[in-house]
């Protein structure tokens, strides 16, 4: 309907193409890029350079070592399971925190961030103690024949614990902004509660959930402190990538360590980039672009 042609005016020669209203663009972007270079790009390029020094053949040999490949599998599967669990549980937590009023809500909200604040080693040791055969949870679970500590399942538990705030904190604000009228409209049109969730709430929450899940997954890939204490670390079964890197470091094989590290980093970077691109497209559609 809107006639956009009218708003397009011919540009006058000599006038700079973009005149920004907000000042400080040059400075703030400069500081940002400088900082990112210092703390991110420089170490990363160091890593790449270090790795590049070893040559393709050796690189390939190191990163395809059967024990390392087994650790990829364990790590990726565990991280996948943990982030899926977090998507469900995190959504539930965010829902409870946004939609209901109950005593202690503020406290619960604050506790949500605890996994970030807690040193990961402390988390790992605590979880290992709780889930060990004599621990509070472990004893109970043992009755059903479920072993958590020192198995791949333990890795999942540790990963889920350390990364759940990612999902809660990305979903929460989106849920808060959701107008209650949307749900009321759907219900007044005859939709059941489940339909309202599936057709109205979920499509709006979906991007945030994917972002949260993706962050949770990326964090889990690199988790070390919490995992090593509960994983048991038996080769080919419950060794994670970060442990493999640490093992190479202990052997003073820095090149091999950085080779494995670069694989993890590359995977994480690709994943985060993909999520960003996909989400950009999805949100554009919601906000009026012709997606």
């Amino acid at each position: 309907m809107a006639d956009t042609d009218q708003s397009v005016r011919p540009r006058r020669a000599g006038v700079p193409v973009s005149r920004r209203v907000l000042p400080g663009f040059g400075l703030s972007l400069g500081v940002t890029l400088f900082f990112i270079s210092l703390v991110l790009l420089l170490p990363i390029s160091g890593l790449v350079i270090h790795t590049a020094g070893m040559g393709w053949e050796k690189f390939w040999f190191v990163v395809t070592d059967p024990r390392v490949v087994a650790s990829y599998k364990v790590t990726v599967l565990a991280a996948l399971a943990a982030s899926l669990f977090n998507c469900v549980f995190g959504l539930l937590m965010a829902w409870v925190l946004v939609r209901y009023e109950f005593p202690g809500k503020r406290l619960l909200d604050a506790i949500m961030d605890l996994p970030f604040a807690l040193p990961t080693a402390v988390a790992g040791i605590t979880l290992a103690t709780l889930f060990s055969e004599n621990g509070w949870y472990g004893r109970f679970l043992a009755e059903f024949g479920i072993e958590v500590a020192y198995t791949p399942l333990g890795i999942v538990v540790a990963m889920a614990f350390t990364s759940v705030p990612f999902v809660v904190r990305t979903v929460q604000p989106v849920l808060e902004e959701l107008p209650p009228e949307d749900e009321e409209a759907a219900v007044s049109l005859g939709a059941s509660d489940w339909t309202v969730f599936r057709r109205i709430l979920f499509p709006v929450l979906w991007p945030a959930l994917v972002t949260g899940g993706g962050l949770s997954f990326a964090r889990s890939l690199g988790e070390y402190g919490a995992v090593v204490f509960i994983a048991g670390n038996s080769p080919y079964v419950s060794e994670v990538i970060s442990l493999m890197i640490f093992v190479r470091l202990e052997e003073y094989d820095f090149a091999a360590a950085s080779a494995i590290a670069s694989v993890v980093m590359g995977a994480s970077l690709l994943l985060l980039l993909a999520i960003n691109v996909w989400q950009g497209r999805y949100l554009k559609r919601l906000h009026g672009g012709r997606g």
């Binding site: 309907m1 009228e181 409209a185 049109l189 939709a191």
Partner: protein, 367 residues
Amino acid sequence: MTIEIDGINKSFGQFQALRDIDLTIPDGQLTALLGPSGSGKTTLLRSIAGLENPDRGRILFSGEDVTGLHVRERRVGFVFQHYALFRHMTVSENVAFGLKVLPRRERPSKREIRRRVHELLEMVQLDHLAGRYPAQLSGGQKQRIALARAMARRPEILLLDEPFGALDAKVRKELRRWLRSLHDELHFTSVFVTHDQEEALELSDQVVVMRQGGVEQVDSPLALYSQPESRFVFNFLGQVNALPGAISGGVLRQGDAWVRLPESCDDDDAELYLRPHEVRLTQEPSRDAHLPFRIEAINVIGAEVRVELRPDGWESQELWEVGITHSAFNARQPKRGDRCYAVPDVGHLFCDHLSEPKTLSWYEAAG
């Protein structure tokens, strides 16, 4: 479908939003719930829809008690103030939603749904926007889509919450006319909430004036305007000129101003209310009224010239406003600061000891 509201009460914490509302909304008519903000009109509308559960009282649709019925079973169409369109669905998906969520045995076939959506979009004259997303529509278009969506299941009751509140004046007027003609064509029972008295009077068959959670007056627009039952309704519906004073010996007096009442009245404190068209402006006071003014402002835009008057030698809370024809204005050419007198033709007297106002006419007395 007739809607009967029987002794509804609703509180939010300490705040009583609705108190003892009894109301009948006739079948096939367009009823307006009119009142200032906080008067409970939206709460009443939401209670009819089932989006709000009253603490006490019953709601009946065609004699059938629906108080305990969930929103989704009441089968009413509800249009929200801010449209509440589903952002992630296209216009046609939005309109089809009510049909697609029907239980399988009631749900029309896919082709039938497509046909119905097409029909509804034609009804709101927006068929060409079927593939757009809500973010790509203007406010007026969104409102019409919201209406089409609410009508998808052919509800017999349509409820609209401030349907034109968020639109600019011109679109508003257009949409108002369009809703009126749609209603005349389809004859559903509709109730809409508004705080705009002009909108309520122009659009509806019946107006319910609400105040502080209660019903103040229910009447046709004409009756409401010509025979308001209370000072509140009088004040709320349009411009009003007031002469507060005291009656003694059949004369209402305050300062230099006095009006001889055509009917006998007990001595009491009273207030005379006059609409701008119920007053004439003259150079000299009449036999029955002495209401001196100074002209404060003159507005020539519109069908009438509106003259604002400041009481001279007496007081009223607000300036008076009187309308005179353009030809009368041109003949006399009054200027700001001129002294003039108001002569009432018809007035409404609110005596402190009477609950109902008395409508007075000076025509016979003058004749």
